[in-house]
Amino acid sequence: MGMEGDFLQLLKERGYQFSAPASGLEAQPAEAAEITKGTTILAMKYRDGVLVAGDRRATAGNMVMYDRTDKVLEIDRHSVMAIAGVPATAYEMVRILEHSFKYYRRTQLQELSFEGKLRAVAKLLKDNVAAALAGTGAVVPVFAGYDFEQGAAKIYFYDILGAEFEGVEYAVSGSGSPTIRGILHYLNTWSDRPLSALPEEDAIVQALRLLTSAAEFDSATGGVNRDLNLYPIVKLITEAGIQTTPANRLQSLFEAKVARHV
């Protein structure tokens, strides 16, 4: 009986196997496989909580697979996982986490702690190491959520092996992230105020500018497509829950404070 409230364990007992690299692919270098990959994601603290944003492009080698990908995924009412890497694996991880947190809450009659949620992400990444190294399933997520024990929204990022690091002010991942990591450091250190003091609107504007910059230098990052009214996904996490910024708000902020500078 599932007294431990461990959903992944239950799935395994029922014959499910998460992340098994196909043996034929092990010898292939990652580049040759040309698998679909996701691109620039960022999370940063702002005055009321944490902002998580991601562009919407998925690429396979030089080809654009899709320009409407959602890489910022809600796992429950207070946590979000932003994904960079192989979407097939990442979406499966999100599905497992979503069901795991619900299953824990419903069986144990209490929410899984924030620390417990972080461990669950790390465990999945650890299970995925073989596929990640074979080049078929590397995922480098950013996990953000509201920690009720500490009374604060928090950001964590991981490497492909499952090591977990706290992003005290911000965290980035994906192929476009080196570009904006430097900008975030600069903004946080030498602006008139640190990122964590930004009001909501300013934080959203910065996120749009950062993703636009990433798209400028990284062909695998989508940026904004005004013709198609395609904007990045921007979610805000506060004590009250998760709020998705509607596209029309992103559009007007983009027109007013981002577009004129590019």
């Binding site: 009986m1 599932g2 007294m3 959903f7 239950l10 799935l11 029922r14 499910y16 809600e74 429950d76 009412r77 599905r95 497992i96 069901h99 619900k102 299953y103 809450r105 419903r106 069986t107 009659l109 829950g241």
Partner: protein
């Protein structure tokens, strides 16, 4: 021991009698559709009796807590594995009861060498539209019923019918506010609980059942004094499945404070 068929029938009959006695002390559970979703209500002492099973499914139970836990875990496992392997919209109360829970309960009931489950279960399922809300009740022998609008479990089928009858009398239930729904549910609960008490006294006096038929259901004063008495040492437990709740999980257990506020008008009417 049961080589002759009539012995087995007799053993099952004894089992029925034994089980019927086990529920006399239990607290009925009432569930009904209202304007924004489904409300579940019971009155309990300590151990909770209302649970979240899946995104749109809530459970209310009567009987032995250990048996209820076992079956609750069965349901949770079934629902989550199915929801993960297929999709959340493939998890339906009807499938879980018909192909999952009912056969297990029936088998335990008829295997007279082993202990039966001492449980009655009510499942409430929130539809995507109000007309698709569904209710299922399962008895200790594995028989189940599906209904619309509302459902109840109580110690006997007759009392259960009385409780449901009192819900049906309320016109416009489908348009009721949460507070109206809670008031209706609490009164329906009291009708069931009072009938169980009368039946139990009758049983103890070894009389023929003197339980009034539904034609002469207890009057408002009797219900109110019964409520006042039981609420002195027990607490009301309420949960809702809200159609418009954000996110995929629609189940929410109401906090004591919220229950008090909801039922304040109706509780105030009860003379001290």
């Amino acid at each position: 021991m049961f080589e002759e068929p009539y012995r087995w029938v007799e053993a099952v009959g004894n089992r029925r009698q034994y089980l019927d006695e086990q529920f006399q002390q239990g607290s009925p559970v009432v569930a009904l559709s209202y304007a924004d979703g489904i409300l579940l209500l019971t009155v309990s002492r300590g151990t909770p009796k209302l649970y979240e099973i899946y995104d749109r499914i809530g459970l209310g139970g009567m009987g032995h807590p250990a048996d209820l836990e076992k079956l609750r875990f069965n349901l949770l496992e079934m629902a989550h594995v199915e929801g993960f392997n297929r999709s959340p919209s493939d998890v339906t109360g009807s499938r879980m009861v018909k192909y999952g829970l009912a056969p297990v309960i029936k088998q335990a009931f008829e295997e007279v060498y082993k202990a039966p489950f001492i449980v009655k279960i009510l499942l409430a399922e929130l539809g995507t539209k109000a007309e698709r809300d569904a209710f299922l009740t399962i008895n200790y022998d594995g028989t189940f019923e599906e209904s619309k609008g509302g459902a109840a479990i109580a110690s006997t089928p007759a009392i259960q019918a009385d409780v449901i009858g009192s819900l049906r009398k309320q016109a416009e239930l489908a348009a009721a506010s949460l507070s109206q729904a809670a008031d209706t549910a609490l009164r329906a609960w009291a009708i069931g609980s009072l009938a169980q008490r009368i039946e139990k006294v009758d049983d103890e006096d070894h009389k023929e059942s003197m339980r009034p038929s539904s034609a002469s259901s207890p009057d408002a004063t009797a219900i109110e004094s019964h409520l006042r008495e039981t609420l002195a040492d027990k607490t009301i437990e309420c949960a809702v499945l809200e159609r418009t709740a954000p996110g995929s999980s629609k189940y929410r257990a109401l906090k004591a404070e919220e229950i008090n506020n909801l039922l304040l008008p109706s509780l105030n009417r009860i003379p001290k």
